[in-house]
Symmetry: C2
Subunit: 152 residues, 2 copies
Amino acid sequence: MEVVPGSVGTNASFSLRLGQAIFSSASLFFMSMGIQFYSYTAFCYLVTIMGLAIPWSFTLAIVDGYSVFVKCPIRQQGILMIIIVGDWVLSVLILGAACSTASVVDVLLHSNGSYCPPRVCSRYQISAAMAFLSWFLTMSSSLFNLWLLPSL
Amino acid sequence: MEVVPGSVGTNASFSLRLGQAIFSSASLFFMSMGIQFYSYTAFCYLVTIMGLAIPWSFTLAIVDGYSVFVKCPIRQQGILMIIIVGDWVLSVLILGAACSTASVVDVLLHSNGSYCPPRVCSRYQISAAMAFLSWFLTMSSSLFNLWLLPSL
């Protein structure tokens, strides 16, 4: 059976999961560093989604690391389906959160009131950028695993 | 060869495409009815994306209608790949636009200034809701066609 690089139980997948965990944590960190994040629904939503994404990526990183270590990748169709659907749902949620955050920051930057001191606003921007990167990696994982599915 | 309901050249696909075209047009209509839409990046983005989504859905609705009429569905793998990737990219863009619009409306509703008269704001909300429906149908089309792909 062919091995698709990036599918569950490969080195590439382990790197992808680590990347997801790091970017999600960075996004959460930059968002919650300013204590004002709960004043906008979009920011609360981002924090909630990142709170889901971090344990998911971290758990799968451990599974991948273990698979690489014992050289026995997961090849059960059911488990793979759960991982694909989970990744896919999470990527949709992360994309929504990232877009919402980015657009709210854009509104805050261009509003006349002093809603957003530049130092705080740039933190929110970095948080949104990290969320976009996390989305990209999650979606890649989902697609790589989907590619593997018909060959099982 | 099995026929997947909702894949290119079926009645269900024709209905999906019509639904996409209608919801996208409704979203564009409710957004551009108020002339203020260009004051926020997210609203301009929604208008741009809907300007892409409407011709795409409409063209594919015509193709599906023709396929149903002459009872000769498209089964070329290359064309199907283009449709799947196109649908998928469009669904990501529409989701981004819908989330951005919804979160900007949320900020405008809860800001203290009189940025948004209730009648205008409810129009923006309807526009975002229509965009979400359009996203859902576009993504369904993409998934149904993806389901058909391995059997070709």
